[in-house]
């Protein structure tokens, strides 16, 4: 049997997932149904694993499915489900349209790949997510879309909107321009450039050397029930399979396929003129794939030690956070504010891989990738940026889309009582006190009336007064405060989120007589 259809299935499934991912990250009107975000992101290996570790439920067990799939058929994940893998296939496809690429067997860079995998695992065990943030393929893809493609898409959308506005057509809505975050932008550009170069020159080299997920699944595929193997009787040594193998894993000289590097693209199955290469029972005795020796083990230990040392020296930087510096009355916040549902700074920074899905999905754009607000290791993890916007009182989108459990799902009613931080008033900055004029912008925006305008007899004006117990730390007051350069009200983050008290309701009991005459 010549299973041509396998390649067709792969192309169909991968493009479906790829399109869904792109829609998810480029969605401009929050119009992509939850269904897509739920199912598409569900199977992403590292996010799902992390969510499983946080939430502990099988509802977050996409990675178990992936492991199961790998133990059956090898690294199907890498060609079907991984958006970064599919992105490379798209590059390769485009390149093949102009000039046909011919691949040849490559030796494995096993030291590098197992080194990186071990490093990431050890760094994670030592309590830092940074190793995953810097290597997870899904998070790379998310950042590329959010920081490179999305700004371009928004720009094009708005260009269309404003040209239509000139002829008084207002049917298409504009999107608030994306705030360019230079650090994630440059990082994503670098990753994109690397992937572009690697994929065009050496196929799936990235997946087989730098990607820890690829390496881990490659390791697992050593135990797969079904493996792609040469069929000694049928193979005519025409090298057709080797020429189309993006992974460079078809060793015709030794008649072995390095299945740990096979990304299950099935190009070989299609290219083979006979039945010389096919899925076969995996435990049949052939030359086994060797994956480790003493030299490698030493190397792994050294790499691990290096990562360990760097992590412990950097971890200290993760605590101190200062937003502004100034000579007059600067706003100094000690704790950066994490999104609602993230439970605590610790949970959030240990689970977030900085994939930017919440950044892309946040309707008010209050979620922005951090620079150094979370310390060096928290770079690119999203934080609440109250200078730019504030958290919508009724919104739980970030908690619904987060694939890693860094932000746990919240019901809107629960979310309304999560206190991310507490509003603090700086009297010496406030115009009511400095200029003796009315303002009230903070109280105006407060959804719980934790900030209200109360008559101050001393200055005979209504001035802001804060009831911290009912404050949810949404940042509306801080955002709305008009004073420059330092705000007069700001939110001090809670390192561990707590429950706010419910706002008191006082029912207006005024009697209305609709037949009564007007009071003028």
């Amino acid at each position: 049997m010549k299973p041509h259809f396998l390649k067709r299935v792969r192309v169909f499934v991968s493009l479906t997932f790829f399109a869904a991912f792109s829609a998810l990250f480029l969605d401009m009107g929050n119009s992509v149904p939850d269904l897509i975000s739920d199912y598409v992101v569900y199977f992403q290996f590292l996010p799902s694993l992390l969510k499983f570790l946080s939430a502990g439920t099988l509802a977050a067990a996409g990675f178990i499915f992936v492991i199961f799939l790998t133990l059956l058929f090898g690294r199907v994940y890498c060609s079907f489900l991984c958006p970064l893998g599919v992105l490379q296939d798209v590059f390769i496809f485009a390149r093949n349209k102009t000039r046909k690429i011919t691949y040849a067997f490559q030796h494995a860079f096993s030291r590098t790949r197992y080194g990186i995998l071990t490093g990431v695992i050890l760094v994670f065990i030592s309590g830092s997510i940074t190793g995953i943030t810097l290597t997870d393929p899904y998070s790379h893809f998310g950042r590329i879309l959010t920081h490179i493609i999305r700004p371009a898409a928004v720009w094009m959308n708005n260009a269309l909107v404003f040209s239509l506005a000139k002829i008084n057509v207002y049917a298409v809505y504009p999107v608030e321009s994306v705030k360019l975050s230079y650090l994630p932008l440059f990082f994503s550009l670098a990753v994109l450039a690397l992937i572009l170069w690697m994929s065009l020159s050496c196929g799936r080299l990235y997946c087989n050397t730098l990607c820890p997920v690829g390496t881990f699944l490659g390791f697992l595929s050593g135990f797969s029930v079904f493996k792609i193997r040469f069929n000694a009787g049928e193979c005519i040594h025409c090298r057709a399979c080797e020429k189309v193998c993006k992974a460079g894993c078809m060793d015709l000289k030794n008649n072995v396929i390095d299945f740990s590097r096979c990304v299950a693209c099935y190009n070989c199955l299609k290219a083979c003129p006979t039945s010389g290469v096919a899925y076969q029972w995996g435990f049949k005795k052939t030359a086994p794939v060797v994956i480790g020796d003493a030299g490698k083990r030493n190397f792994l230990l050294q790499t691990a030690a290096f990562f360990f040392a760097s992590v412990s020296s950097l971890a200290g930087a993760q605590r101190e956070i200062e937003i502004y510096r100034s000579s007059t009355v600067p706003v100094t916040s000690k704790t950066a504010i994490t999104p609602p549902g993230s439970v605590s700074l610790k949970n959030f920074s240990n689970r977030c891989t900085a994939c930017q899905l919440c950044v892309a999905a946040c309707p008010t754009r209050v979620l922005q990738p951090a620079n150094l607000e979370y310390g060096l290791l928290g770079v690119m993890q999203p934080r609440m940026d109250y200078k730019l916007s504030y958290c919508n009182y009724d919104c739980v989108i970030c908690s619904a889309v987060c694939p890693t459990g860094a932000i746990l799902p919240q019901h809107p009613n629960t979310k309304k009582l999560i206190q991310l931080g507490r509003a603090k008033f700086i009297r010496k900055n406030c115009v009511v006190y400095t200029q003796k004029t009315d303002c009230g912008a903070c109280a105006e925006h407060c959804p719980t009336k934790a900030v209200r305008m109360v008559f101050d007899k001393e200055i005979r004006k209504h001035a802001p007064k804060i009831d911290e117990s009912i404050c949810v730390g949404c940042g509306a007051c801080e955002f709305a405060c008009p004073t420059k350069p330092y705000k007069s009200i700001y939110v001090e983050g809670n390192a561990v989120h707590v429950a706010a008290e419910k706002a008191r309701e006082v029912k207006i009991t005024e009697k209305v007589d609709l037949k009564e005459d007007f009071p003028f």
């Binding site: 404003f162 207002y170 809505y173 919508n392 009315d438 912008a441 209504h462 709305a480 006082v506 009071p519």
Partner: protein, 321 residues
Amino acid sequence: MLIRHSNLKPCGAAMKRRTFLEKSLKIGLGAGAYLAFGNRLTTYAGDAAAKKAPFDLVAVKGGEPDIMFNRAIQSLGGIKNFVKPNQTVVVKPNIGWDVPPEIAGNTHPGLVEHIVKQCLDAGAKDVYVFDHTCDKWSSCYMNSGIEKAVKDAGGKIVPGNMEKYYQEVDVPGGKILTHAKVHELILESDVFINVPVLKNHGGARLTIAMKNLMGVVWDRRFWHRNDLHQCIADFATFRKPDLNVIDAYHVMKQNGPRGVSAADVVTLKSQILSTDMVAADAAAARLFGMDPAEVPYIGMADQLKVGTMDLSRLNIDRIVL
């Protein structure tokens, strides 16, 4: 005087009103253009159309928003007194907050829908509705019910969330606020109908007609920094709406302007119509149960001669349905 304004529309929406007026003259469009120019200037300066109306202010209570509007507008000479065939109309409700209609943080969607329909029935070419919202604009438009109301009525709901829609203008009558960036629809539309909701307000004490105009400018923080009340009064001198319709059906008595729950609201089932924003605000303040003198911007606008807060000098039609 029936003029085809469509011939004169600037080709680029970005064109300023003044630039447009100058250009119209320079191009020399002839007598027709001259008439159009005259008409525009009077619209700009005040309310020529409504001058013949027998009443300065109409207060109505006891009905649904559309019934009250129909009754009240009759006393001002009917909607045709304000909207001429083929004119463009901009309706500016309060859509500031992402709250449902029962919280009364925004103008009643039924009233907005009805006014848009009335304008279209009167022959308006296009009826635009927008607000520069405080909360996330798309959520405000949707959850206030106003986006759907406008679309159902055949009007056009326009975003107000991007600085690009706003043009720099001078406010010659302002004491502190001498220039502002104003939404292009306010500058370009032939007819401007202001449809605020009457509410309690932490900083401004009350938000009614003049305060509602804060939603047609881009930079509101300047107002808050530089004497909010004076800025509200200053901007009221810029372009007076051709008609103000104050929605006092559901009235937020406390926790304004956003409100916390429906417990903050009383149902007054009232409406106030006037071409004079100051008079309308003064009457609405009384309806709310406050002395207009307690709301500083009303007195300041009276001093700037935007209108009069002395209700005893006005011819008021009081209708109890």
